[in-house]
């Protein structure tokens, strides 16, 4: 028992180092660097042109109001989409099978992936946030409380969305099919008030948006980075921290209960021949 626990902890530590190495790898791969900078550049340009427009009813830059929501959305994307794509791809190319073939390798693999995604999310957040602080006016990221709020929203957001990414990534056997999940996610972004306040939307649509984590991540980030009078344009004219914690925690608990079961079921089916089969299929597609 103690031997098992010790080797599990050892594998967890090895996983932390794995995540660190993988973060370093992303900085030396042109593909990954592109993925960091290209979407961030587009967002910065969009917000630059939105800076002149005003939030309806208040004299406040729409660009500055949008930035925190976009950062919240990035957390959801990092947790869900990045992990989902990584799992689907690395199941196809045999990375997962390698993890399965070494003792406690799956523990190390998953912890490494979580560290990697946290690192990637922080990096892309910094790439958007730093220029925005110079470019946009009215952001209130000057107090310790603001940074603390930003930290807890980010951590809770990742805990809520990472298990969802793990579940979705386990369900798709072909990484190219994983793209279909992007459509509903984009739809959710549209109704979640990331780019425009949703208080003017029909109430049933507001209700739908408030079931999912993206809305709450956007709201939480706005509460951290915007002056308090901006709460007036939110639903209920409040930052609703209690509800944010409630909804995100509910997703986290549900995900953490389901994900290990789905992951174990997926991992059990991995074998040399299942990887070989997918390799055949993928090679046929490219030729």
């Amino acid at each position: 028992m103690t031997e098992g626990t010790n080797s599990w902890l050892h594998a967890a530590r090895v996983g932390l180092r794995r995540g660190g190495l993988e973060i370093r790898h992303t900085f030396t791969s042109s593909q990954d660097l592109w993925n960091y900078f290209f979407p961030s550049a587009i967002l910065l340009v969009v917000m630059f042109f939105m800076r002149g427009a005003a939030v309806p009813g208040i004299d406040f830059s729409l660009g500055s109001r949008t930035l925190p929501g976009v950062l919240g959305m990035n957390i959801a994307f990092g947790g869900m989409v990045t992990l989902m794509m990584a799992l689907a791809l690395e199941r196809e190319d045999g990375t997962l099978l390698r993890a399965k073939a070494v003792p406690n390798g799956m523990v190390g693999y998953l912890i490494g992936k979580i560290v990697l995604i946290m690192g990637m999310t922080l990096t892309s957040m910094a790439i958007v946030l730093v220029p925005s602080l110079f470019m946009l006016e009215g952001l209130a990221l000057t107090s310790v409380t603001a940074w603390l709020t930003l930290a807890w929203v980010m951590v809770l957001g990742l805990i809520a969305t990472l298990p969802l990414g793990a579940i979705c990534g386990s369900l798709f056997t072909n990484p190219r099919n994983a793209g279909v999940i992007m459509l509903p996610v984009m739809g959710l972004v549209a109704i979640s008030g990331i780019f425009y306040p949703i208080s003017s939307f029909p109430e049933w649509l507001q209700g739908v948006a408030q079931i999912f984590p993206i809305y709450w991540l956007g709201l939480g980030m706005r509460s951290a980075m915007l002056p308090d009078q901006l709460a007036a344009v939110e639903i209920g004219e409040s930052w609703r921290h209690l509800e944010t914690v409630g909804v995100l925690s509910a997703w986290a608990v549900a995900g953490l209960v389901l994900a290990p079961w789905v992951l174990r079921r997926m991992a059990r089916r991995e074998s040399g021949s299942s990887v070989a089969q997918r390799r055949e299929r993928a090679l046929q597609r490219t030729t």
């Binding site: 031997e3 098992g4 010790n6 080797s7 050892h10 594998a11 090895v14 180092r17 794995r18 190495l21 993988e22 790898h25 030396t28 791969s29 690395e90 190319d93 045999g94 990375t95 099978l97 390698r98 399965k100 073939a101 070494v102 003792p103 406690n104 390798g105 190390g108 991995e270 074998s271 040399g272 021949s273 990887v275 070989a276 390799r279």
Partner: protein, 303 residues
Amino acid sequence: MDVLQVRDLRMRYGTTDVLKGVNFVARPGEVVTLLGPNGAGKTTTIEILEGFRMRSAGEVSVLGVDPARGDEHWRARLGVVLQSWRDHGQWRVRELLNHLGEYYRPYSTDQLARPWPVDELIEVVGLTPHADKKILKLSGGQRRRLDVAIGIVGRPELLFLDEPTAGFDPEARREFHDLVHRLSDERTTILLTTHDLDEAEKLADRILILAGGTIIADGSADELARRMSTEAEVRWTLDGQRFVHATQDATEFVRKLFREHDDAIADLEVRRASLEDVYMAMVRQFESGQHDAAVREFAEVTG
């Protein structure tokens, strides 16, 4: 104690029986080759033993443990050589071996230090000049050597290799064979699959031929060759005309031939079918769909 014990192993996919009662053992330090035509169930068998696939029925013991219930401690004593494709492309050779080796450290014992020191291991598989290369920059042969290195980084007591030399050029194949000999000198038990008889003869202490869902022959290459039928083909010319005759007793037939025709006989040739001839004939029949007939005939000649 036997490292591998397989008794009446059965595997059924839907309504197809792939394995219909496989029996064999492997003793410590042995190199055992599972030889058979494509689709005979070699990969299924090895994946069941690796604990990557559930069997339908039968008793299996790998290092004294049922692989369906093997824990991580059991896993640490096994090595599995996987066919890599493009995983870990951004990693460097030494970096990845260091990382994967770390998982084995808690399973070090007084007799056996785990993992294998990485630079020494890289030397053993001949990757020293490439140790700091990104894996995606390696050639196919270099990648396969890395696959082997990953399989043995935990100093396994038992190593599984599924079609290890598929896609190798002759030189890479020879180097790989040297590596297997070196590992077996260090008392590692090795189970490998191949569809290439030549490879099985070169590597194995014992060859198991798997076809039609059962082991139809089990023995060293010499034993299998000796057990072959004595059927031989005699060719000769008599007054410029060619003759061919198949016989069980070539010596007696040739003696009779000379008694009758003496000087008129020329170009005499006696050819006994080799293990390879018989094996190839079985594979051809097997692949043209006559599974049962092929297996029956092969079992007759070798049994």
